[in-house]
């Protein structure tokens, strides 16, 4: 083939890849633009601070917002200590390259790939029916207390779902801590835990924060795992106990989008709810991206 033709083809295909790239960017912009433009119309302080009224065609989303925050806080309390200490084990304690470590890594990767709906089934079968009913039998003489869908079970299900996120992000930052820092700590007579606690962890705070934020963002977004483990269609009260059901933003979006008695009346509220949910997850993601890019820069500088 003639050189000029080759150059022409090369240009053409390069242009096509650029086109694909920008159409994806345009797609993101389209979705966000649509949600922001339509969502802003109905967004007000009243909307985020009052409860839904008259079959979700009026009122606000306060109970759902409250439930989301409560749920995600519980999940964080469960997942962060577990995830961080798993990462510490993998990086600081385990003999490098052992079969046990490989097995743990494989389990984490597979856990990350299990569909969210399967986590939902697991939460129902394990937390609600097995653990919850078990607690009722031993401590409450079989009276229905924990053996039902509840915010505790939903948050634990989400904690298992987000565990890989926290482990991977924490491990990434532990790797950045230079070997020499550890060696100095040892040479001063520190035990392994003292070294981890005083030398490694203070430098890893950023990564742990990134992992936590990403996990929270994921947890606030996933509906499938909480469908049968505690999310409620509508509740006239706010959840105050661990064994109560709860309303939550993302499930509220699903309910309003698919089960509204009056679609036209619900639509403005629906858009605003989606906007609030998106602002929440994006603010979190954005924070994570910023912290992580700082971290990457440090990683590059350290090499």
């Amino acid at each position: 083939m003639n050189r000029r033709w080759i150059d022409l083809f090369s240009r053409l295909f390069t242009l096509l890849t650029a086109l694909a790239c920008f159409s994806l960017v345009a797609g993101v912009a389209l979705i966000l633009g649509d949600v922001v433009l339509n969502g802003l119309k109905h967004l007000s302080w009243e909307f985020v601070s009052t409860a839904p009224k008259t079959g979700m065609t009026e009122g606000g989303i306060f109970p759902a917002l409250f439930g989301t925050v409560f749920l995600v806080l519980l999940m964080t309390v469960a997942v962060v200590p577990l995830g961080v200490s798993t990462a510490i084990y993998l990086q600081e304690y385990a003999p490098a390259g052992s079969r046990w470590v490989k097995l743990i890594r494989m389990a984490i990767q597979n856990l990350a790939g299990v569909p969210a709906i399967v986590f939902g089934l697991f939460g129902l079968g394990f937390f609600v029916d097995f653990v919850g009913k078990g607690i009722d039998r031993f401590f409450f003489d079989g009276a229905l207390t924990f053996g039902q869908p509840a915010i505790l079970w939903a948050s634990l299900t989400l904690a298992l779902l987000t565990l890989p996120t926290v482990v991977v992000a924490t491990e990434e930052t532990l790797r950045v801590v230079p070997r020499s820092h550890r060696e100095v700590a040892y040479s001063l007579g520190a035990t392994r835990w003292q070294m981890v606690r005083r030398v490694v962890l203070p430098q890893a705070v950023n990564g742990i924060l990134t992992g936590t934020i990403l996990a929270v963002s994921r947890g606030a977004g996933e509906v499938a795992p909480i469908l049968f483990t505690g999310a409620a269609y509508y509740l006239p009260y706010l959840p105050t106990h661990l064994n109560q059901q709860f309303m939550v933003l993302n499930y509220h979006v699903y309910v309003m989008a698919t089960q509204s008695p009056d679609v036209d009346a619900t639509l403005p509220l629906l858009y605003s709810t989606v906007l609030v949910l998106l602002m929440l997850t994006f603010a979190l993601n954005f924070a994570a991206i910023i912290i992580r890019s700082r971290l990457r820069r440090r990683l590059k500088a350290g090499r």
């Binding site: 086109l19 790239c21 993101v28 569909p115 089934l121």
Partner: protein
């Protein structure tokens, strides 16, 4: 030993025990998931009562709705004679997945090629987070967008009979798959050593020829892994399909018909099902199928990522 340092070493022991134990949580979690959804689906194999309604052959082979009638595949768990054929659901899942991958893989791979090979670095820094932002959009929001906004445009654009169909649901699903494929493929392409590109350019190849004939083949195991992990994501995704598919359990391969997927069926029906009924156990059986399938996909993906690592570090023989 001073008492303070004794208590110190005791608390240190406790913490280190916690660290060692927590490392096992991911393994225990994975095993528990399998055991507990497996346990609930076991009656499909063992209970004679449940097997009368939903044995493996009833689940996978065609059945006559009434004696003497033509044999068909039907998912009608709530009827006088419940029917539990999974075929309509499998067809629905495969159909949506096919549309999603046809949409997502070319776009994501082309975009990954552009960002890693052709884009100037300032553009890459800007474009990459935007595409990865797609991963941050909750699937329920994507489902909402497909249901409320996109479905109408897709229907008008193609002149379709049904507003909710496998095309619009598949595209929304594809948008959720894009960041998975894009991020992994971009990583794989970026991992190809610079010397490969320099060698190719030095021999007179154009940047496109270099990207297409040198970099892409070198990164192939990683690209392939990206595509199968995208497949795993598409098969398991629930909320998008639940909201945008129309949820009709019909065995039609046409992408313009409404459909219903395996995952959406669990989500839609588990809430109303009677505990311990045949229907309940069959839904858990669907969960087992999804779990095993994505487990296999992940294993395959990891295998190929490992191959890429060996290939690029020159340790494969």
């Amino acid at each position: 030993m001073k008492p303070s340092s004794l208590s110190h070493s005791v608390s240190e022991k406790i913490i280190e025990t916690f660290i060692h134990l927590s490392a096992a949580v991911s393994i225990v979690g994975l095993v528990l998931i399998f055991i507990f959804i497996g346990k609930e689906s076991l009656p499909v194999f063992t209970s004679p009562e449940i097997r009368r309604e939903a044995s493996l052959s009833k689940i996978f082979l065609p059945q006559s709705p009434e004696p003497g009638e033509e044999k068909v595949f039907r998912w009608q768990p709530v009827s006088v004679v419940p029917k539990y054929s999974l075929l309509p659901l499998v067809v629905g899942t495969l159909k949506a997945t096919a549309v999603a991958l046809l949409f997502a893989i070319p776009l994501a791979l082309a975009a990954a090629l552009f960002t890693s090979e052709f884009a100037p670095s300032w553009l890459r820094e800007w474009v990459k987070p935007v595409i990865e932002l797609l991963a941050g959009i909750p699937s329920v929001v994507m489902g909402f967008f497909a249901l409320i906004v996109m479905a109408t445009y897709v229907q008008e654009l193609f002149g379709l009979d049904f507003r909710l169909n496998a095309i619009s649901a598949g595209i929304a699903l594809g948008l959720a798959v894009v960041p998975v494929v894009y991020t992994m493929a971009e990583d794989a392409l970026s991992a190809v050593p610079q010397s490969y590109r320099e060698g190719s350019i030095a021999l007179g190849a154009t940047p496109w020829q270099t990207a297409w004939r040198v970099v892409l083949p070198a990164a192939f195991p990683g690209i392939f892994a990206a595509c199968i992990l995208g497949l795993g994501r598409a098969i398991g995704e629930t909320m998008i399909v639940l909201m945008a598919s129309g949820n009709a359990a019909v065995s039609s391969w046409s992408p313009t018909d409404p459909f219903r997927s395996l995952s959406a069926t669990i989500a839609a029906e588990m809430g109303e099902v009677v505990r311990g009924s045949t229907h309940y156990h069959v839904l858990f059986f669907i969960g087992v199928l999804l779990f095993l399938f994505t487990f296999f996909i992940n294993y395959l993906g990891q295998l190929f990522v490992e191959r890429l690592r060996q290939k690029l570090s020159g340790t494969d023989k």
